[in-house]
Amino acid sequence: MNAPGGSLLVAEDLKKAYGPTMALDGAAFSIHPGEVVAVMGPSGSGKSTLLHCLAGIVTPDSGSIRYDGQELATMNDARRSLLRRTEFGFVFQFGQLVPELTCVENVALPLRLNGTSRKQAERTALGWMERLEVDDLAKKRPGEVSGGQGQRVAVARSLVTSPRLIFADEPTGALDSLNGERVMELLTEAARSANAAVVLVTHEARVAAYSDREIVVRDGKSRDMERVV
């Protein structure tokens, strides 16, 4: 696959093995600013590994990943962490909210990690929670809210640092269809309004429908799909 010009993130010929299992075997990927790309594929196809590699969480065995023209492989761990803190946002299948923090503290956490004062961070967090319609849960702990609400809090957390790129790994995987759709609507709307690109890993076609483009991963190889409307 040829990387289109003006891409925010480009990956080429990625290979990654876990023991004898090839999770990625020459996968490629690219995404433009503000674009929503769905990474699809069956269980065990390597899509989560692709996401982890693209986000700099996992280092591929070979291949190249360039973010904004910079090669990820040349960055050390601290630099990659900084990138994840400032430029990327994350949403996981089960939200992965810190159970002991309140929802607003969870949303404010990435800002606080960047050194923003608590007050300022929570003010900004509350703004995002309002947009995601969960501001009434600010003082509640994750254990006290429903799965859908928790996932919306997680989406707010992924957006709070105004990232340029959001990685969403099965963000609706643990939700019913109604809640899942609402989360997807809010996520894509919020991302588009903030001009943030979204890498959306899913195996559900109705979730992938929220994307601008789809990439299918199978046996560690990726294939760009034409959107069929």
Binding site: S48, L113, G143
Partner: protein, 778 residues
Amino acid sequence: MNVRQWSRDLGLGVRFAFTGGREGWIRAVLTAVGVGLGVAVLLLTTAIPNALAVRHEREEARLDYSFSAEVPRKADDTLLIVETDTTFRDKDVRGRLVEPEGPDAPRPPGVDVYPAQGEMVVSPALKRLLASGGSALLRERLPYRIVGTIGESGLIGSQELAYYAGGSGLAAYLDGDGATRLTAFGNPKPTHEATDPVLVLLILVMIVVLLMPVAVFIAAAVRFGGERRDRRLAALRLIGSDGRMTRRVAAGEAMAGALLGLVAGTGFFLIGRQVAGSVEVLGMSAWPSYLNPSPLLAALVALAVPAAAVLVTLFALRGVVIEPLGVVRTARPARRRLWWRLLLPVGGLAMLYPMIGQGRTNGDFNQYLVTGGVLLLLVGVTALLPWLVETVVARLGSGGVAWQLAVRRLQLSSGTAARMVNGIAVAVAGAIALQMLFAGVDGDYTESTGQDLRRAQLQVTVPEGAPLDATAEKFADTKGVTKVTALWEGYLGDASWESENGPTRTSELTVGDCAALREVAKLPSCKDGDMFVLDGSDYDGDTPVLNKPGTKLYLEEPGGSRDESVWTIPAGVREVPSAKDPRNLKRGGFALTTGALPKSLAASVRGEVYLSVDQSVPDADDHVRNTAFHVDPMASLMTWSATKQDRKYASIRSGLLIGSACVLLLIGASLLVSQLEQLRDRRKLLSSLVAFGTRRRTLGLSVLWQTAIPIALGLLLAMAVGLTLGAILLRMTDTAIRVDWPSVLAMTGFGAAVVVLVTLLSLPPLIRLMRPDGLRTE
């Protein structure tokens, strides 16, 4: 309560414990190891009374004192024995020279055949020591051929260094000069020593203090892996099990772990028993056969541990709601109430109060009240700590991210945090109280010897007959010796010591060169041949009466005074003031320079040689011991120390040190396992936090704060309870209350060090768990 239903649910839990796949086994093994360690310590504790009793019996059985005032006549069944104990480096060696006088001579326990002259039988530990390199200095003192080994029945510990060597001509040393004639070994009338009430109090408190943390540890161990287990049990709710049933199944699983722990504990104990036979701690060793737990106490442990597992699990699950959809939420716990928690320590104080002052005068204090009181006070720590942690962390403001994560975590589950430090807090509280008690009564069990270490560090007693000057010279030439004060001593009487009534007035005789005599008297001038009479002794009333020129004085000597051992006081004996000698005593009697001592008396005075030694010279003391041996194998050497401690008191103190170290290690292990379990449980969360850029340092710090805050509170509470208990114990023994701050801080610091160590040890797994692997779901 339906017994059938209970046993069915518990049984189901036991089955689940072993059929939960790898997860289940890991949990069962963790619990088994944890409980096993606790059980092993408990079994060891129940074995200690037996070990001490057997040790005492063996020591009594080999006693070689003559319990009669009269020396028995030589016969076929008599034995001559001389004590030749020595020390090698810092290890004591029990030594005896033996000479059977007939075929029926009694044999000491553990010795089958008497060694002939020039031979010896040795303990296994001494055999190993002599066979190892670096024992040449000891070998020089034991120039005998090894012909056998002393059996277990003749030794009080597996690492005891002991020997019996064959001697000859020992009869010459009878009459108070080292040799004893025996017809049997052992004390014919073993008496039970009345134990000092303060020592009993110390032992009681020590047992409670050491065992309480073990109990707390076991309670924590049965909850190892509990949070994950609770989540898994949610599946049972889905198929119709109600909350109570689920809790009973969980208790069954914990019971299975505890039962496995009993097996593991027995294994650990048996291994530890063997290991105990090959180690020596603080100069004490034991034979594995000593360590037999009391059957009753062992049965109690076997019943109490599984029962505790069930109760602790049921209690711990009170605040946990297990829902059918696999979601377990800790029910927002009701605010902890203080009143009933305060009842425990207040009850303890109430039990101890009537005992104040009882421990000293007549020892009439009620052991049950003391034990119960101490127990309640210490249990009070475990009850108060969760309340204290909850109350304090609820008020903690937020700081940095690491602090916020830690504080919030503690606010959400302060009980878990308190459980983790309960053991340490109880151990520290008890140790502080005991240290206070020890420091308070130390003076009663530690007496000053009066020995002035600035003037000498070693004292050698040389039997009569050694040449005076040559002996002093040999010591002066010994490696490491910097100063020799050789004084020869004897007793003079106004009549023969063998006469019917003996002498009526006696006086001391001290002989030495001028430099040596200056150590015992203030001499205005001195030259060889001078004679002095010492004035100013506290106890010498006879010398001024005897001191008349021409008076005949008889020298006491083994075998009785002879005509040659008579000294007639010449004219020209000068009176000089006595001065404190190296033993801190002002002696009286006559002091003669070596040249003034009639030759006929020279062979009848005993040598007391005081030596200063340069301790930087390797094995200086052993070089002196060898010189003493070469001067006379019967010479005895004493290493001076400024104070002397009561033996029983010293062993209790050593026991506390060993016990505290074991308990703290145990608690450290428990802390580590709990910490790792919590980290493992949060693996996914930690990975996701790292994924969105959280610094590892931030997470590491948050783990440290999570441990440090409860431990700081726990130690604070431990200090308060420990000081209170210590003060009460001191009042019980009628001792003035004095806080021994250095030991309080040392104990607290020790507890804190365990936590820091545990945190450091948990960092590598924490870093490992923060790897992105935790995010993988497939």
